[in-house]
């Protein structure tokens, strides 16, 4: 029961993007379409899972003063693994996300979970936490990407909603649309959080 709560907290109650406001750079930068959001979310989930697992395993052998550099090296290694694997097997997704993959290293969500959760909890809880937080992040990015894609290009996951019409409200594809969409989704999630609390 405790683990279930640990897992689901990432979706609404502690949603990394809309409630904790962590990892905003990729959340605003890549979410021009639902597919990009989903890809970035899953890549981050993988890095989070890897770093949380390793950090919780070695948390006791890392001296306190060098824990942050060690965590960063671990996270950066997982990010590079994701980057190489994606370029090798998913070249199309790499084309649209490639620029943002190295930024996962400085995504404070990953660092934050390593420091605040994995370094204090056992491996089981850390994996559950990483999955919950990662999927919550994926959910947030896909929602924001979907919203921007629907309003900005009248399509969702690349499928046209109105045949023949491709030019939507361009502002939603551009950077300001990310902030506007983000604002409305923060309102929605705070509303949901109050309701479920």
């Amino acid at each position: 029961m405790k683990q279930w709560k640990n897992f689901t907290k990432g979706f609404i109650k502690d949603n990394p993007v809309f409630i904790l406001l962590l990892g905003l750079c990729p959340a605003l930068g890549v979410t021009t379409s639902a597919f990009n959001g989903l890809g970035m979310g899953l890549a981050t989930t993988f890095v989070l899972l890897g770093s949380n697992t390793v950090v919780s395993i070695i948390k006791n052998v890392i001296p306190n003063k060098v824990r942050i550099p060690s965590f960063i090296v671990i996270i950066a290694s997982f990010v590079t693994i994701v980057q190489l694997t994606m370029e090798a097997y998913l070249p199309d997704l790499f084309d649209s996300l490639g620029l943002f993959i190295p930024l996962i290293v400085v995504n404070c969500l990953v660092m934050g979970r390593a420091e605040a959760f994995a370094s204090k909890n056992n491996i089981g809880s850390s994996i559950v936490d990483a999955l919950g937080m990662g999927l919550g992040f994926t959910l947030a990015l896909t929602m924001l990407g979907g919203l921007r894609e629907i309003l900005g290009a009248y399509s969702i996951f690349g499928i046209q909603l109105i045949p023949g019409v491709t030019d939507g409200m361009l502002v939603f594809v551009l950077a300001p649309g990310a902030f506007i969409g983000m604002g409305y989704l923060i309102i929605l999630f705070n509303f949901l959080k109050k309701k479920t609390a």
């Binding site: 990009n36 890392i62 060098v66 060690s70 290694s77 070249p91 084309d95 649209s96 491709t166 361009l170």
Partner: protein
């Protein structure tokens, strides 16, 4: 297990071990993915070449310097039954809205454009990315034009290319890349063809 003390020797050893493990893992992953990455890139290049030249059965690559300086361009000469049917030029521009755009421009041996596809770009999704053939048929307008008689500039600059709505800079950059390919092509190949009655390639 108690937490390790932050003594100098502990810290150095820990960081050494962590970085060594990380380098070892990364080297392994790099070796595993090096081949698929090279394959994916090569497949992309081949695919781009076959889109911009007529059907061919043999390919020869050579590098040429553009007349106005900068990185050299890769020319892929496509032959069918030992006859030159087209030249695919891997060209670039640094005038994109967000950095470099690379494209593959295909020419007929007489200098007309067969077709153009982009290779890499970082243009704004939804606006500048309409240079991508899968997103819009905008780049089809370059088909069959002869850059010697047609000015490769957007209509805002008195040229004959219709710019992408709300992405004039990207359109200008794309024209610049194609013009660079044509200039190099004209400088190295066309001038030869005219002097000697045929390229000696």
């Amino acid at each position: 297990m108690a937490k390790k003390e932050s003594t100098f020797i502990n810290m150095v050893l820990t960081l050494l071990l962590v970085t060594a493990a990380a380098s070892f893992t990364l080297a392994t992953v790099y070796n595993l993915t090096a081949e698929p990455i090279a394959q994916a890139r090569e497949a992309k290049r081949q695919n781009a070449i076959s889109q911009v030249v007529p059907e061919f059965d043999r390919l020869e690559s050579r590098m040429f310097l553009p007349p106005d300086g900068g990185d050299s361009l890769e020319f892929n000469f496509a032959y069918k039954n030992n006859e030159l049917v087209g030249i695919a030029v891997n060209t670039w521009t640094n005038r994109g809205y967000s950095g470099r755009i690379t494209a593959m421009v295909g020419f007929y041996p007489d200098g007309r454009i067969f077709d153009v596809v982009h290779l890499q770009h970082k243009e704004t999704p939804g606006l500048g990315d309409k240079i991508d053939k899968s997103k819009s048929d905008w780049s089809d307008q370059f088909k069959d034009i002869d850059p010697e008689t047609t000015l490769l500039k957007v209509s805002k600059d008195n040229g004959e290319i219709d710019a992408i709505t709300a992405a004039t800079i990207t359109s200008r950059a794309y024209c610049d890349a194609i013009q660079r390919a044509y200039n190099t092509f004209a400088d190295h190949i066309l001038s030869q063809t005219k002097q000697e009655g045929g390229p000696e390639l």
